[in-house]
């Protein structure tokens, strides 16, 4: 076998005490089709940055084509043949399509205005490779989102790379556009090595011959797509590792369980939201009722956090979105007014206030004067005895479980009518998850409406009354949790996930 084109030798990158990439070693041979997958925060993008030179490793070596490049700046690596695309399209929008490509053609440098014929030919060639030749003279800003992503690939190709890094190329693309992207990647010249990060495992299986799984910055396993899929550790940490089958979505709201007659506390209709112009949610409808836990599950990157944040008012909703709390339309309200109106948020990653003590966190929320205060700080401390002993500690001194309890306590003190929980079990030990499950079930039993976005399917099935699956921007399946517990194959069809030990 030939010598590797790229060799990562125990590469690490730390932010303070946190190692985002932890001693990862990896070989990439010329012409390889290699994919990096892993849950959010696994360090995939950081690893691409380390290879491209936009970040430097804290320790370890990076060998590329016989050179140790770990100290090279990004532009030197680019000239040595490492090209990349970005997680969100990074194009010079005032320029035309072909001018964007010309910027990357070697030898063309800054003289974009006086195009050399040879450079122009190379640029048009790169555009033709991605199927954008007929749009060459268009202003970049007029391209659709999918075309912008393909233009990025053309820009990368124009640099005549030996190694192409693709950072989530399928993010935000519609199904047909994803198919075109897969075709494009498969048609790339075989002398270019491709390293790809993507959440869409259909794309990964279609284009990669080798897959590496990262988890919490560590290398978990490397193998063929089917080997990796069968790996027990991968099944454990990564929810959406298998192929999916074409599934006809059931009508949302139709199977809302026995209490469908009770009016919902939170009613969401046609919720649409996007990131950087790319649509993420394309019409979500859901109801949350008092005394019930509704769970939204879905693959990584399906848009669960966007959904929760849009309901809470932290992410802008696109026009047409209807969010109704107790018959009051709250779509146009600020996050503060929604909090006052009765929406409580326990966000992903907890988002505690750095530097504030537990006691100070609990002193911040003030419920709306018109609403009876449902809980007092005293009752909260009875509910979370661990916090009582840590009143004067700051978030970084708390364990993950205590942080989650504090985030929950902060939300509860405002006396919410509906509680939004975003990945509450993330990073928690199983015993703590059990405690959390008991607390959430208890809250629902006392009349709270709970909307839970969870990656942890076992937890969601355990405590939710009904479960909805978020897939491709919309809810693909909506069913009582009891039915899904009895017939886990239905979830398999949409998510193709293992349902845990049972």
């Amino acid at each position: 076998m030939s010598a590797p084109l790229l060799r990562l030798d125990t590469v690490s990158r730390a932010y303070g005490a946190r190692r985002v990439v932890d001693e990862v070693s990896l070989d990439l041979h010329p012409g390889a089709r290699h994919a990096l997958i892993g849950p959010n925060g696994a360090g995939k993008s950081t690893l691409l940055h380390l290879i491209a030179g936009t970040l430097r490793p804290t320790s370890g070596r990076i060998h590329y084509a016989g050179h140790d490049i770990h100290r090279w700046p990004a532009h030197r690596r680019a000239r040595a043949g490492i090209a990349r695309t970005w997680q969100h399209p990074t194009l010079a929008r005032p320029l035309t399509v072909v001018q964007n490509v010309l910027l990357a053609v070697p030898g063309q440098h800054m003289a974009v205005l006086r195009e050399r014929p040879r450079a122009s030919a190379a640029a048009l060639d790169a555009l033709a490779q991605v199927g954008l030749a007929e749009h060459a003279q268009w202003p970049t800003s007029q391209l659709s989102y999918g075309d912008q992503r393909r233009l990025e690939v053309a820009v990368a190709l124009a640099a005549q790379p030996r190694l192409l890094l693709l950072d989530e190329p399928s993010a935000g693309l519609a199904t047909t556009e994803v198919a075109r992207l897969v075709e494009l990647i498969r048609a790339l010249p075989t002398d270019i090595a491709v390293l790809l990060v993507d959440h869409n495992l259909d794309v990964v299986s279609a284009v990669a011959d080798t897959v590496t799984v990262l988890h919490h910055g560590r290398h978990l396993t490397t193998g063929t797509p089917s080997d990796v899929r069968a790996h027990p550790d991968v099944r454990r940490v990564y929810l959406a590792e298998a192929d999916h089958t074409d599934h006809v979505p059931t009508t949302p709201g139709a199977a809302n369980g026995p209490s469908a007659a009770v009016p919902p506390v939170l009613r969401v209709r046609n919720l649409r939201a996007g990131h950087h112009g790319a649509p993420v949610l394309t019409g979500v409808a859901l109801d949350v009722q008092a005394g019930r836990v509704s769970a939204v599950v879905g693959r990584n990157g399906a848009g669960k956090t966007t959904l929760i944040n849009t309901i809470a008012g932290l992410h802008p909703a696109l026009s047409g979105t209807e969010i109704v709390l107790n018959d009051r339309l709250v779509t146009g309200l600020s996050a503060r007014r929604r909090c006052r109106a009765g929406i409580g948020l326990v966000p992903q990653g907890r988002r505690l206030f750095a530097g504030l003590t537990v006691a100070e966190h609990l002193a911040l929320p003030r419920p709306h004067p018109g609403r009876p205060r449902t809980v007092t700080a005293r009752q909260i401390l009875d509910l979370f005895p661990a916090l009582a002993e840590r009143r004067h500690h700051r978030p970084h001194q708390l364990s993950g479980g205590e942080q989650q309890m504090l985030a929950l306590a902060r939300a509860l003190l405002a006396g919410p009518q509906v509680l939004l929980l975003d990945e509450p079990s993330e990073g928690l030990a199983p015993a703590i998850v059990g405690q959390l499950a008991a607390i959430i079930t208890g809250l629902a039993a006392t009349g709270s409406a709970v909307l839970l976005a969870e990656q942890n399917l076992a937890l969601a099935l355990d405590i939710a009354h009904d479960v909805a699956v978020l897939d491709r921007g919309t809810l693909a399946l909506h069913a009582p949790a009891a039915d899904l517990r009895a017939d886990p194959a239905r979830l398999h069809d949409v998510l193709a996930v293992p349902t845990g030990s049972t």
């Binding site: 008012g313 503060r336 966000p347 206030f353 504030l356 100070e360 911040l364």
Partner: protein, 292 residues
């Protein structure tokens, strides 16, 4: 004896440095909170000090009544100035460069106005008669007003640290600094908090002008000097950090008095070097090769 051994020209100068440092703290504490909490880059902060100094010159008559009137006027002018600034930069949210230009423009216009109204020559402001004399410190004469100023400023320091670090108001302010979106989703009034900090910072700066007028009197150019020293204190102390500002202000006070007395040539360099060190060290959270 021990005490008289301690008192020499250098310790007297160092005492001046403490007074100077505390004065800078009272001014810069507002500025550092305005930066850290409201995210506003106010170049008109020295102007507020100068306004306070002219108020003192206008109203102080050597008695307690004059000082009281001047302080009342300072609170009013500071609040109006802070609120006006908040309104002026409101459309410039997230455009720091435009905020700098806008507030710098305000500062220039105000400086021109001050010269027109109060004249271009420096004015001296007498302290209240009760505090006018000097007291003997181990054989050296020291102005009573400066000792009084140190006591009052120390009280302000304690109150301010209590307010920011111990009260619920301070917790709200720090929560808005830490995560404005999440603060909003917890039901906090982030906009009102930011405006309140601008008003509070304005009141502090104008009050400092009234109290500090007998030490650094009103004159054209004082606004620029005060602004530069306040910026140094904010940068060295860390934006938004009250304790950091206190330490930095005391340090700058010593450099500007004791430092100038000991090594006149190097004092300015020391200030610049301190800023450089603060900027380069603080913004490198992890050094390459250091174990995490």
């Amino acid at each position: 004896m021990g005490l008289s051994g301690l008192v020499n020209p250098y310790t007297i100068t160092a005492l001046d440095g403490v007074a100077y440092g505390l004065l800078l703290f009272v001014i810069a504490a507002g500025l550092t909170l305005i930066f850290g909490v409201a995210g506003v880059f106010s170049m008109a902060h020295g102007t507020l000090y100068l306004a306070g100094a002219y108020i003192a010159w206008q109203l102080a008559d050597g008695g307690w009544v004059g000082l009281g009137l001047a302080l009342a006027a300072a609170v009013l002018v500071g609040a109006v100035g802070g609120a006006g600034l908040a309104a002026a930069v409101r459309p410039l949210t997230d455009r720091p460069l435009d905020q700098v230009l806008a507030t710098l423009g305000v500062a220039y216009i105000a400086a021109d106005g001050f010269s027109t109204v109060f004249g271009a020559e420096p004015r001296s402001v007498d302290p209240p008669r009760a505090l006018a004399g000097s007291v003997s410190l181990g054989g050296y004469q020291y102005p009573v007003y400066r000792l009084g100023f140190i006591a009052v400023a120390a009280l302000i320091v304690v109150l301010l640290i209590w307010l920011v670090e111990r009260s619920r108001t301070g917790a709200v302010v720090r929560a808005v600094v830490a995560d404005p979106d999440m603060a909003e989703a917890t039901g906090l009034r982030t906009r009102r908090t930011r405006a309140a900090v601008l008003v509070g910072g304005g009141v502090l700066a104008v009050t400092a002008g009234v109290l500090g007028a007998p030490v650094i009197g009103p004159a054209p150019g004082v606004d620029a000097t005060i602004l530069v020293y306040s910026l140094i204190v904010c940068v060295v102390g860390g934006l938004g950090s009250i304790r950091g500002a206190l330490l930095a202000a005391l340090g700058v006070g010593q450099v500007l008095t004791l430092g100038v007395a000991l090594v006149p040539g190097a004092a300015a360099f020391v200030l610049a070097a301190a800023m450089l060190v603060a900027l380069t060290v603080r913004h490198r959270p992890s050094l390459a090769g250091r174990p995490a």
